[in-house]
Symmetry: C2
């Protein structure tokens, strides 16, 4: 009904790289930056940067550029990185541990409030301050969180492909609104649940296909 026209995904995907650059510029003491400069730095066209920035609602000043603080805030706001996203992480292997240990996502609002694994060997172990809870205990764990008015919005899936659907089902059951899936599977989820797949094999495919094409020249 109020079907807001959806914003171009490619633009959204480029925003984090702008943000990184802006934060570096800020750290260097700069206050203003032109999109001509951003474009040069990242090897794109300045029009594209301008269009991308426009979707965040911020505006710049001709001849001057954009205010860095304002722009950083607008991008973070637009991406939802100024709010906390309470999340469960399921699967504390190397990949799961990598996410828990990477501080970048914390500054993007990712707030892990529960860490699960079905491997008994991990039971009770602590990773980056999070005690690993048995996967089967997720439901009761959610209840105790609810009692403290903590609600889980996101599920991060870092289990092997074979277990991913089962994990997704449980996450849906406890009421997450979105799933961030690192397993190479197409998950079946209710329409209302947002799903973003991290495409590692897909990335590798593009890489090796290009290497092969180079070979054939």
């Amino acid at each position: 009904m109020f079907n807001a026209k959806s914003l171009p995904v490619p633009s959204i995907q480029r925003l984090p790289s702008y943000l990184r650059l802006l934060e570096e510029a800020k750290a260097k003491g700069k206050h203003v930056v032109s999109c001509t400069h951003i474009a040069e730095e990242l090897g794109q066209l300045s029009v594209q940067v301008r269009k991308d920035l426009a979707i965040t609602g911020v505006s710049g000043r001709p001849k001057v550029g954009y205010n860095i603080d304002e722009l950083i805030n607008a991008i973070r706001d637009f991406l939802g990185w100024n709010q906390q996203t309470n999340a469960f992480l399921v699967g504390v292997g190397n990949l799961g541990s990598a996410i828990l240990n990477y501080d970048g996502f914390v500054t993007h609002g990712l707030n892990i409030v529960g860490v699960f694994d079905s491997n008994p060997a991990l039971r009770g172990k602590t990773v980056k301050g999070h005690t690993v809870v048995p996967f089967d205990d997720m439901l009761e764990y959610v209840e105790t969180l609810k009692e403290n008015d903590v609600f889980v919005k996101l599920g991060v899936i870092t289990v092997p492909a074979s277990a991913a659907q089962e994990v997704a089902d449980k996450l849906v059951q406890i009421g997450v609104r979105a799933v961030w899936n690192y397993a190479p599977t197409v998950l079946e989820l209710p329409e209302s649940v947002i799903c973003e797949n991290v495409k590692l094999s897909e990335s590798f495919a593009v890489l090796t296909n290009r290497m092969r094409n180079q070979d054939r020249r």
Copy 2:
């Protein structure tokens, strides 16, 4: 000069998911599959699947479909997954370990022939059968490989952003033809070196932006 018209990247990125489905079908004892079926399974249009498959050069039979073995082979060939890709991996943190321990990439031809880290605590440790070599010893390590006719084609970068450029420079120095970069940085590389960036923050950005949009309805 012989600028072969470049193939659509989105199509290349969809091929791995077809491959997964085909291998499952094969494991179930099937020999033939229609793209109508693939499309249904993955929630896409069948024309798209047909176009995507066409770029691999394989052809199907009307009313019947595609031969699964033939199709698997054609996709793997097209992606370069039927050949070994000798690679160095730099950065044996959780992310690097995750890649080393994930068998999927091995079946895609990824052949790790050297694992490096500058952390002295890791020196001499073994991860998935690979002894961690000090980063500074890479050059001499390459020489011993060359003596055995082993040539490194790819560098996998799983170090923090702050170290990524330095690692990339060294990899270029030893002559890799491509770089698979997991660090959130735009690397400066010679034109001739292929670079594929894994976009984790970019994926998170799309996710949280959609969650935010849902909030605002």
